[in-house]
Symmetry: C2
Subunit: 331 residues, 2 copies
């Protein structure tokens, strides 16, 4: 029996393309002492993956040419050579874009899905959910009545940020591309308003949607969106810099003109990575599970079928083409 | 007897010029109930004044055309119609660029100069000192052994920031323009190193001076200096954005290309204004007075004689021509 995997075939200049990837078969991996063999069931696609396709310095090194693309999966243990894992256990893994993989048991996080779909552990109950929870709570520090603006509002992180901000008593304004996404953000997710950045009047529309200015910006897109928001931020406001989607595919970095506002308005701008809260993941899981069960958080997935669809899925995700958490069903 | 004052005659496009000011005489002001008449002895010149010459939004409104230029002074009470002040009292004022002025007694801060020159209350024991103290301590949060980089290192704020960072156990690197200033920063102020931004190799020279990267940047200049420092900031580092001297006189705002580093390195970038620590000025005064008396802080002043010299003094200050705290002796 062979394994199937997607490797990085070439590095993109500018936007990623499906040609940057290659689907190939490989020998089935075999676990050694302390390791387990996992069959992947779900793969999550996320904007940060564009960064790993480059060899520029980032949090961690990029993916090497010919190497399996990185990514989280949910899978099932097929064979274990560690006493802590047993066949049939469900685990969250970092095995990447492949149908099977082997890792140390310590790197496989066993989950106890209590009536929740397995795929949720790659979204609202996984990294995107934790990112939203800690970034908003610890760095955004929203107070009841404040205005919170979230970009990529229909995305995996943004949709949860906005709903948490509503639960915590804020006025919430999303930014998304196109009327369909904006309607979804307001009508299904319950944001107070959503600005369509593709409509061409970002500053005017944001100003109208935020009559009291902006107290917290949870920023997933950056570039012109962040630069425009800097003109609307209130005194002592906070910007949670979580992503630079607009930058990942650009050949030239954006030149921010409104940094002056950081000084004038005593803004705190802070970059976040969810790993820094690793010791507190349990707190986020508990809170988010509770809100889900109470029906206070709505969560939408966008599912592609088959590993061979992953390259197209990532390319479209980076181009802003998806709704909700982008997943690939592998089995 | 007439008063003498400097008013804003026109708004600069680009760098400020002496022609933007006008020296004029005016009737001597007369205090009403609750007010006092002050004879100004010292006027301080500071980079923020460039901002007040514009009508763009800033912390506060700009100076109106024909109005007295804003600024702090130290003066002596000549006549008081408030029981809290008496002739001969020394006060820190916001009376601006004039020889005499009237203000509410509550707006005049009485000082008790204990063997310290009066002018120090406009520098190391005034706003610049407090800015350095709170910005570095509360926002920079330097830890012993960390590397602190200070731009405009020979200036009123920068020179104190660097010396405080040394007292608090850090490696301190200054940035200044020209060899004379850099020598002063290292040899007289005791910084570990100083990089001459005019030498044309800012990134390379900073990298050499900061072999372990940068943990705290106390930023007075911004523009290309800040953008370059963003390439050298360590993970979880802090940037105290205190001034934008490079921006004050620019006709086009600088376009920052390295904001990506804020995300990758989880940098906290925060704008500060000393007014926000008003309730804790006493703490800074106590600490700075102590360090001065112990000889642990060296402090240099640059003095011009006569109110008519103030416009030239500000223009040269903004062009980076001064050493230490720029003052104008008025009497």
């Amino acid at each position: 029996m062979q394994n199937l995997r997607v490797v990085l075939a070439s590095r993109p200049q500018g936007p990623a393309a499906v040609e940057n990837f290659r689907l190939e078969s490989a020998p089935m991996p075999v676990p050694r002492e302390g390791e387990a063999l996992v069959r992947n069931l779900w793969l999550t696609l996320d904007p940060y993956m564009r960064g790993r396709m480059s060899d520029a310095k980032s949090y961690v090194a990029g993916v090497g040419l010919g190497e399996v693309m990185v990514g989280q999966t949910v899978g099932e243990v097929l064979e274990s050579r560690d006493p802590g894992l047993h066949p049939g256990d469900k685990v969250v893994t970092s095995l990447g874009w492949q149908l099977h993989g082997v890792d140390r048991a310590a790197a496989l996080e066993r989950i106890e899905p209590g009536g929740v779909p397995l795929s949720y552990y790659l979204g609202v109950l996984g990294m995107p959910g934790y990112t939203a929870y800690f970034g908003l709570k610890d760095v955004g520090q929203p107070k009841p009545g404040e205005t919170v603006v979230v970009s990529a509002a229909s995305g995996a992180v943004g949709s949860i940020v906005g709903q948490l901000a509503k639960i915590w008593g804020c006025r919430v304004v999303g930014i998304a591309g196109g009327k369909a996404k904006c309607d979804y953000v307001v009508n299904e997710l319950g944001f107070d308003a959503c600005v369509d950045y593709k409509a061409g009047n970002l500053y005017r529309d944001l100003k109208a949607a935020c009559p009291d200015g902006v107290d917290v910006n949870f920023e997933n897109v950056a570039g012109i969106v962040l630069d425009t928001l800097l003109r609307l931020m209130n005194r002592n406001s906070r910007i949670v810099l979580c992503g630079l989607v607009s930058d990942y595919s650009a050949t030239e970095p954006y030149g921010y003109k409104m940094i002056r506002s950081v000084l004038i308005n005593r803004i705190t701008l802070r970059g976040i990575i969810v790993f820094d809260w690793h010791a507190r993941y349990g707190e986020a899981l508990h809170a988010l599970s509770g809100y889900l069960k109470e029906g206070r958080i709505r969560y939408r997935e966008s599912v592609l079928d088959g590993l061979d669809q992953a390259p197209r899925g990532l390319v479209e995700l980076l181009a802003g083409g998806n709704f909700g958490k982008q997943l690939v069903r592998l089995a």
